[in-house]
């Protein structure tokens, strides 16, 4: 006779074990309901069959745990990584551009370059009423100071932001290197665990989470190999992670591929390049990844797109491809107008016929102004490098990479303003009058003159105020684009995160329903043991 009593007990015990396993998995899901990157798991049960040879009845021998399922949709994860890249890229840019945008307020109560330009020309105009008035002259000096101040402040703010971003690259790359080395370690653990046929659920969760975090930094491709490891590859083809190995990126401002001179930046230093060093102990052999990373997505690209990407052969801070160099070009254009066009007009017509330009304007004491007579720049060497007496030497001053940060007034003495011009008909013999406003009138008319300049990749023809308006337009378009990108990427991120969570996230309701269900099964199994016990008692009592 078959021992059904023992079978009953064994079946009940197998059930107790199996239900406990399921309950443990449910409790783990609940415990990790708020753990980032955790993918819910489920223990799969399978009936334990054992044909009963004596009765021929296939009653079964209870239940057993067959496997563990980790709920993951690789497609959803990839979409999420892309969404994180775009969101991080747009947010980084938008945050930085918000700071830039503040420099170009439209409310009319901030000393923007536009306002100080208008005020400066108005002060020159005011002085034409009474050119010898020291009060009106002092007003021109003050408004000139305001203009110089607003240009320098704006330029320096852009330069400081560029420097801040440059310094941030090191932190970002360090964190990328840390993540890729962790991914490599996890690769090794996944391979080890899965070689035994188990699912390396914990390691995969952590690895997926690291990949999501890495997406916030830069663009990359992921390829999973048959042993469960993944390769993380930059769009250019460089493997950042392969098997249990990772490659560290470096940030350097003396790359091996550069010549003797490196491009200057807005703040005066050299830009950092993101590189991989193929060289060993024999010396550095850098490959430039900056452009590759910048053309992708993620926060690092956002930083580079704002800071500007420089080629090692660039010679000007305005050649960088990015928001800050392009915007600073416009500010530099205004500075160059003041240093060249304005100063040249300020000198007045040439008093000689050919040769060195002889100024014909005069200050209140009959003195003629220097070559950079009104707007000047801080430089200790020779400013009129070609010696032609004209302020046309920008770009020839050793060590000077921008003039906006060096801009200053040639004199702050109101008497030194050259308001009049030579009134003597004899060439070369200068005589002026204190009430002459001929020079001022010529300077005032400059405001409406069309001026053409090319700085870096920026070329523009227009009045000087239109230069500023163009900068406003540029900032507005960039900021609006980043704000739109941010809105779109936020919304896409939400969709992608929802899709991932639909598959992978823990649902407390769901888990508790299962908990109740398996708890009941567990209680029933325990009851079975009692029944089995009672059956045995019945037999013992009958004996």
């Amino acid at each position: 006779m078959a021992n059904f009593g023992a079978k009953l007990l064994n079946t009940a015990i197998s059930s107790l074990n199996a239900q406990q396993g399921v309950l443990a998995s449910i409790s783990n899901n609940i415990a990790n309901a708020n753990t980032p990157g955790y993918a819910r798991r489920s223990v799969q049960l399978e009936n334990q069959s054992s044909g009963d040879g004596k009765t021929g009845l296939n009653i079964g021998s209870g239940v057993k745990i067959s496997s563990l399922i980790r709920y993951v949709d690789e497609f959803a994860n990839r979409s999420l990584r892309e969404a994180v890249q775009n969101k991080s890229n747009a947010t980084t840019k938008d945050d930085l551009l918000s700071r830039v945008e503040d420099l170009f307020s439209l409310t009319g109560d901030t000393q923007t370059i536009g306002i100080t330009l208008t005020d400066f020309f108005a002060a020159l105009n005011d002085l034409t009423v009474n050119p010898a008035s020291l009060e009106l002259r002092a007003n021109v000096i003050e408004r000139g100071r305001d203009l110089v101040g607003s240009i320098k402040d704006t330029y320096n703010s852009l330069a400081n932001l560029q420097r801040e971003i440059d310094e941030k690259l090191v932190i970002e790359v360090d964190s990328i290197n840390l993540m890729t080395s962790q991914i490599a370690t996890l690769n090794q653990l996944v391979a080890q665990r899965e070689s035994t046929g188990n699912v390396a659920a914990d390691e995969r969760d952590r690895r997926d989470f690291l990949l999501e975090k890495l997406s916030g930094k830069l663009s990359f491709n992921v390829t999973e190999l048959s042993d469960g490891t993944i390769n993380v590859t930059l769009p250019s083809g460089l493997d950042l992670v392969y098997g249990s190995n990772s490659r560290d990126l470096e940030v350097t401002n003396s790359p091996s591929f550069a010549g003797s001179s490196l491009p200057p930046t807005l703040w005066g230093g050299t830009p950092s390049f993101i590189v991989y060093n193929y060289g060993g102990s024999g010396g550095a052999a850098h490959v430039d990844l900056t452009g590759d990373i910048a053309s992708g997505s993620g926060g690092l690209a956002g930083l580079l797109n704002v800071r500007g990407v420089y080629s090692a052969t660039d010679t000007s801070p305005f050649q960088g491809d990015g928001v800050l160099p392009e915007l600073a070009s416009r500010i530099e254009g205004i500075t160059r107008f003041l240093l060249t066009e304005f100063n040249e007009e300020y000198l007045g017509p040439d008093e000689t016929s050919g040769g060195v330009h002889q100024a014909s304007s005069m200050d209140l004491d009959g003195n003629i102004p220097g070559v950079y007579g009104f707007f000047d720049f801080a430089f200790s060497g020779l400013k009129d490098t070609d010696g032609d007496g004209l302020p046309d030497d920008l770009g020839t001053h050793a060590g000077v990479t921008n003039y906006s940060s060096l801009l200053q007034l040639a004199s702050t003495d109101p008497r030194d303003i050259a308001a009049g011009r030579d009134l003597n008909a004899t060439a070369g013999v200068l005589s002026g009058a204190p009430g002459d406003a001929t020079n001022l009138q010529a300077l005032v008319d400059l405001q409406d003159d069309t001026y053409t300049d090319t700085v870096g990749g920026f070329s523009f023809t227009g009045t000087i105020e239109q230069f500023y308006v163009n900068a406003v337009s540029f900032v507005g378009n960039e900021k609006s684009k980043s704000a739109t990108d941010k809105t779109v990427s936020d919304s896409n991120y939400k969709i992608a995160a929802d899709r991932r969570d639909q598959v992978s996230a823990t649902s407390i309701d769901e888990e508790f329903t299962s908990l109740t269900r398996f708890q009941k099964a567990y209680e029933a199994s325990a009851r079975l043991i009692r029944i089995g016990n009672q059956l045995l008692d019945e037999i013992f009592n009958a004996l």
Partner: protein
């Protein structure tokens, strides 16, 4: 059926609340500042136009301030011309009286003293300063435009009568300054003194010397300081004739120079007034356009703010409900 997890509900809830909150902040800023486009990125298509308009409004403000200065100096010139005109009218009266031959040389000599006073008054006007500068000196406005010539009148009975005033020869004495009162309109703010006062001063000096008893020799109508005394035994009628001829000179200087200048200055003042009204109207239009493009519609902002507040309250209420519901409460 789509699987919904707590993390999704939580994310959506936070998103909704944040969106509503940021709307509340945005519209409350709009409603309180009255400005919808405060930064270039708020509306990049309007931003360049707004920046341009802001600069233009500012420039108009500066034009208006400058106009007040110009109005001050031109107003002073207008007053001077009125007074100078009155003086020349009085001079004409004196010349007419002095031409009466029944008056003896001594009475005429006494009248000469008053004519000299009138001459000095005209010279004083020609040497008027505005904010420390001589307004009739052209560009040479740091020195008085009229000074006693180094060659005085000969034979005069007094030092004052010997003074022969002439316009400065300083360089720049013929300069005229013009200033912008709108973006495109310029107004002259000075006239070189010789164009206004030379003939009047010469006429008064010739009249004064005639009454004093001296002839005046002239070069091109301008006295050169020479001129001998009348021989009253034979030349009383010559003196009378000389006095009578100054009436024409006085009248010519009054109508051709002083009144002409008065009309010119009045014309400049009228142009200035016209410029002010043009600027006012331009500024009004510009401010209207600015407030249309940059300004927030107060009613819209208030309505939007109200809606955003309601949305925030609703989202908070909904969140409270949604987040509270859990199967745990029923187990």
């Amino acid at each position: 059926m789509t699987r919904i997890t707590e993390s999704q509900v939580l994310r959506n809830t936070i998103d909704l609340i944040q969106k509503s909150r940021s709307d509340v902040v945005k519209y409350s800023q709009e409603a309180s500042s009255g400005i919808a486009v405060a930064k270039p990125g708020d509306d990049p298509t309007l931003a360049p136009a707004i920046a341009d308009m802001r600069e233009t409004v500012r420039r108009y403000d500066k034009h208006k301030l400058r106009i007040e200065t110009a109005r001050g100096v031109l107003g002073l010139q207008s007053d001077i011309m009125t007074q100078a005109n009155d003086i020349m009218v009085r001079a004409k009266e004196l010349a007419t009286q002095g031409a009466n031959e029944t008056l003896g040389p001594s009475v005429r000599a006494q009248m000469a003293a008053e004519v000299l006073e009138l001459r000095n008054a005209i010279v004083g006007m020609a040497n008027t300063k505005y904010q420390g500068r001589y307004i009739y000196g052209g560009a040479a406005d740091s020195t008085a435009p009229y000074n006693p010539d180094v060659v005085p009148y000969t034979n005069s009975t007094s030092a004052e009568a010997a003074k022969r005033y002439s316009y400065t020869t300083s360089i720049g004495n013929d300069s005229i300054r013009s200033v912008y009162v709108t973006d495109s309109t310029k107004v002259d703010v000075n006239t070189p003194g010789n164009q206004v006062f030379d003939n009047a001063i010469h006429a008064l000096e010739i009249l004064g010397r005639s009454l004093e008893g001296f002839k005046s020799s002239t070069v091109g109508g301008v006295p050169d300081g020479g001129g001998i005394a009348y021989d009253f035994s034979t030349e009383t009628s010559v003196q009378t004739q000389d006095i009578l001829s100054t009436i024409d000179l006085i009248e010519a200087s009054r109508t051709n120079d002083l009144q002409n200048e008065q009309v010119t200055v009045a014309g400049r003042l009228a142009r200035i007034d016209n410029s002010v009204s043009i600027l006012d109207s331009l500024q009004l239009n510009l401010n209207e356009v600015l407030s249309r493009t940059q300004g927030a519609d107060v009613f819209d902002s208030a309505t939007n703010l109200n809606q955003a507040q309601n949305a925030l309250e609703t989202s908070l209420a909904v969140s409270g409900k949604v987040l509270q519901i859990s199967l745990l409460d029923y187990l």
